[in-house]
Symmetry: C2
Subunit: 243 residues, 2 copies
C-alpha cells in the first residue's frame, strides 16, 4: 500500500513541499516513515505525484516532488445535498460521498434536521482523509451549513435535483412514482432528507421545482446514510463515471 | 413513527406475547410507552402485526397481538458474503445489508482478514435492530464465521458468486473486465474482500468457479463497507426487488 497525502496546491515537478506538524506526525509516527522513503502526494488539481521525504521532524518536514504518477481524475458534476444527522453517520456520509465521487458536498438545515450546526473543518478533513484512502486525486469541498429554503430559492436552472423521497420507499406503489431509469444526467445533485424525513411543506416546495426528479430506493425504508450511498451508487453506475 | 419490535415466531391473531427484560426496558424506558399503547411486532415470517401492551414491568411484560398490519415481505434470494473488518464497519455492513434486503449474511475468514472472530450474537442483534428501524418484516440470518476456502469448496452449483474484485477498481481498464450490466439474477451472492483485498491464491480460486461473476465498482478504490453497500444497491436495482 502506497502512503498518500493531500497537500496544498499547486504542485509541480521538482517542488519542495513543507509538511505541517500533523502531516509530519502522520508520516513519522503513524506510518513510521523516514527521510529517503517515497509516497504519493496530490493537491486535488494536478494528479498524483511521487514524492520523497527529505526531512522529517516533530514540528514539520520537507518533501521533494518527483514525477507525475497518475493524471488528475475529477468526478462527474454531481453534488450531494444532505441534512446532517448524528455525528458518526454524518462523518460516514462525507467519507462515502468522497469515495463514490461526489464533486461537492452541501449540508442543509431542514425542518426536522437533527443538528443545527456542523464542524465544517472536521468534515472537510474527513473528505481529505477519504480521498487519501481511496486513491483519489480529487477532494470534494464541504460547504457551510445553509437553510434548505435558501438553497432551493437559488437553485441553478440547469442542475437536476434528484430527490430521494422517503415517502416513496416502503410504499408498495413506489415504482410507479420514480425509478432509477429516470435518473437525469450531469449537472445534477442528490438531495437526502434527515432521519425524520422532509416536512410536507418542504416536500411540496421541492416538487414544484422544475429541476426536481424524484427517485425511489426500493421497498424498504432506508436510513438517511444508506439512502445517500445507494443514490450516489445508482447515479454513478447509470450517469456517472462507472460506465 | 410507529414503534416496531421483533419477537420470536410464530405470531398469530389474538396471541399473547411475553416480553424479555430487554424488550420491556426498551418499550418502557427508552420509548416511554405504557400499557394500552400500540406498536407493531413482527416475527420475520408472518408480516407485521399491530399489538397492544397489556402489562409492562421491570422484568418483562405482555403484548396482545391484534390484526395483521402488513403482509410478510421477504427479500430476493441474495446472500452477502464478507470478510469482517473493524468492529464499527462490520456492524455497519450488517445494518446496511439488512436495510438493502440481503436474505443471508455470511462472514468469511480470508488470508488478509483483519479479525479472526466475530460476535455472531451481537451481529444478529444488529440485523434485528436494522429490520425494526427500516420497517422490514424479514431479518437476515447472520451465520458463524467460516474459512473462505470451505465456503467455496461447497458453493451451491446454481448460485452466482458476484465478486467485487478490488483489483478492478481504480484501474482505467476496469470497465473491460466486468460491469454492472453483467449482474446475474437470483439465486446469487455478493462476495466482498477485506480491506487488504484477496490474496492472489484466493482471487485465482474464486475465478475458477464457474459461478463466479466479477463486477467493477467504478474508477475509485472503495473501502470494503462501501463496496458492500454499492454492490447490494446495484444488484437490487437491476435484479432484485427495486425494479
Amino acid at each position: 500500500m502506497v502512503v498518500r497525502l493531500f497537500v496544498n496546491p499547486p504542485l509541480h515537478e521538482g517542488q519542495s513541499v513543507a509538511l505541517t506538524r500533523e502531516q509530519a506526525h502522520y508520516l513519522g509516527n503513524v506510518m513510521r516513515m523516514s527521510p529517503g522513503e517515497k509516497l504519493e502526494i496530490f493537491d486535488g488539481q494536478s494528479g498524483g505525484w511521487t514524492a520523497r521525504i527529505d526531512e522529517l521532524g516533530k514540528r514539520g518536514g520537507t518533501l521533494h516532488t518527483y514525477a507525475l504518477a497518475r493524471p488528475q481524475r475529477d468526478p462527474p458534476d454531481l453534488w450531494l445535498v444532505f441534512a446532517p444527522i448524528k455525528k458518526a453517520r454524518t462523518d460516514f456520509i462525507v467519507e462515502k460521498a468522497t469515495e463514490l465521487g461526489a464533486a461537492r458536498i452541501l449540508p442543509v438545515a431542514t425542518r426536522f434536521t437533527n443538528s443545527d450546526r456542523i464542524r465544517q473543518d472536521r468534515l472537510q478533513a474527513h473528505a481529505v482523509e477519504a480521498a487519501e484512502q481511496c486513491g483519489g486525486t480529487f477532494v470534494p469541498s464541504v460547504e457551510a451549513l445553509q437553510p434548505l429554503d435558501r438553497l432551493l430559492s437559488s437553485w441553478p436552472q440547469d442542475r437536476a435535483l434528484i430527490f430521494a423521497d422517503e415517502g416513496l420507499s416502503g410504499d408498495p406503489d413506489w415504482a410507479a412514482d420514480g425509478t432509477a431509469s429516470t435518473l437525469p444526467p450531469a449537472p445534477a445533485a442528490i438531495l437526502i432528507g434527515p432521519e425524520g424525513g422532509f416536512s410536507d411543506d418542504e416536500r411540496a416546495r421541492i416538487r414544484t421545482l422544475p429541476q426536481a426528479a424524484p427517485i425511489a430506493l426500493g421497498p424498504r425504508i432506508l436510513r438517511a446514510d444508506t439512502a445517500a450511498v445507494a443514490a450516489l451508487t445508482l447515479w454513478q453506475a447509470k450517469r456517472g463515471d462507472w460506465t
